[in-house]
């Protein structure tokens, strides 16, 4: 008897994409795929960083919270990477595990080392407010797949904003030590904020599909300085880092992150888990 029952990968789902390709629909152009790759890499690399906290957070609830946030981000990454890869005949794993440093398109904020808990919270504040602004706009993208991924992600990112805002307040208004360390965290991550709003070559020419990053600066500026001030902290006045993540330029810490993320898949090619 014919027996073809098949399971389909999750994410926006490789199968959905295969079916759409058969119907000649919705295959992303190379330009849309390159844009989706950048968004997928941002989410993937931050998910990996947050995973490093598991069993190391200051309290059990935070182990669980940071792990959950990382899991949400990993879900967003899988959807974006599956979609991007479909343009090139590559799967999500090919993109995650078999590219080298200079081929990753994530912005540098997301690869910054965890530092202490306050450093991670500062990075989470900047990252989640940025994701919130981005996905809010991307839900009306002319590309139906990008819009669907964004609509799903937005509901989850709202929790992430809430989590980081609460912690910035708690640490800023807590003890003298927590205040000093929260300020140090904001100062350490601040140079990597500017890159998030620089014109992105992969978004240019995709009018109505991609969100121009420079348009996200306004919602960010309306939220983040107010949160920082409310927590009794200073908005850092520190020059921006060089950036270049979207062009494959990364900070020294990034190679170490990739080594840990990719070692299993590269040592045991074809392994499934």
């Amino acid at each position: 008897m014919r027996h073809t029952n098949r399971a389909i990968s999750t994410a926006v789902s490789a199968e959905t994409i295969e079916r759409e390709l058969e119907e000649g629909l919705d295959r992303p152009s190379d330009a849309v795929a390159r844009y989706a790759l950048g968004l997928g890499d941002d989410a993937l690399i931050l998910a990996q960083r947050l995973g490093e906290w598991i069993a190391h957070a200051p309290e059990l609830e935070e182990d669980v919270a940071l792990g959950n946030i990382g899991l949400d981000l990993l879900g967003h990454a899988r959807s974006f990477l599956t979609y991007a890869g479909s343009a090139w005949g590559l799967g999500e794993d090919d993109l995650a595990y078999f590219r080298d440093e200079h081929e990753f398109r994530n912005q540098q904020l997301f690869e910054r080392p965890n530092g202490d808990f306050a450093h991670t919270i500062a990075r989470q504040l900047f990252a989640s407010v940025y994701f919130d602004a981005l996905y809010r706009r991307l839900t009306s993208s002319a590309d139906a797949t990008l819009a669907a991924i964004a609509a799903k992600a937005l509901k989850e990112v709202e929790y992430h904003v809430d989590h980081s805002v609460q912690w910035v307040r708690r640490l800023g208004l807590g003890t003298d030590v927590s205040h000093v360390r929260m300020q140090a965290g904001l100062d350490a991550m601040w140079p990597f904020v500017d890159e998030l709003f620089r014109p992105d070559p992969s978004a240019a020419g995709l009018e109505g599909v991609a969100v121009p990053p420079e348009e996200l600066r306004d919602p960010f500026d309306r939220t983040v300085p107010a949160v920082i001030a409310e927590a009794g902290l200073r908005v850092p006045d520190i020059p921006a880092a060089r950036g270049g993540g979207r062009d494959g330029m990364h900070t020294e810490a990034f190679g170490h992150l990739l080594a840990e993320m990719q070692v299993l898949a590269r040592q045991h090619p074809g392994a499934t888990w």
Binding site: T4, N5, A7, I8, A11, E61, V64, L71, G75
Partner: protein, 171 residues
């Protein structure tokens, strides 16, 4: 049509691996069933294999339970004789706890998980309703962490009976 109802009923017996009292129908994860019986209504009589597509939607983007649900749907339908089954994961429209059935909410509470309240519909003032302790029924409870043992749950503690409990977040 009768075939689609039968497949839906079979798929609807699959439970959430993390919350085994809830079926994927209770959760609102089961979205659609399509059956193509081949060439016309007498296809089955001629021994043709119906082509089945089941659509599910993930609760949260990264929820690993989706994989288990998909495998369970495939094996349940396989045991019922359906040999050509595809389970599709669809993202739009995004899942919401508003799709959870009242029966599902009652089962959750009986299982010891406080069920989700209806979500606000964009009113001017956000009202956080008290979450009722599933053990003693008190509304005097406190959120310990917005993130719990799975993506869909928050961790609460009852200030009356002192017991910690999970709350299925309105999403």
């Amino acid at each position: 049509m009768a075939d689609e109802k039968r497949v839906w009923a079979l798929a609807a017996t699959v439970c959430d691996p993390e919350v085994p009292v809830l079926t994927i129908e209770d959760l609102g994860v089961l979205r659609a069933v399509h059956v193509d019986s081949g060439s016309g209504a007498d296809g089955a009589e001629r021994g043709e294999t119906p082509v089945v597509t089941v659509e599910i939607t993930p609760t949260y983007s990264g929820c690993p339970a989706v994989d288990a649900m998909r495998d369970d749907i495939l094996s349940t339908l396989d045991r019922a004789g359906y040999r050509d089954v595809t389970v599709r994961t669809v993202l739009a429209p995004a899942w919401t706890t508003d799709w959870m059935s009242d029966e599902g909410k009652a089962k959750l509470e009986a299982f010891g998980i406080a069920p989700p309240a209806p979500r606000g519909t964009g009113g001017r003032v956000g009202l956080g309703l008290g979450i009722r302790c599933p053990r003693c029924g008190s509304l005097h409870t406190r959120e310990v962490s917005h993130f719990g043992s799975t993506s869909c749950k928050a961790l609460y503690v009852c200030q009356k009976c002192g017991e910690p409990f999970d709350h299925f977040k309105a999403h």
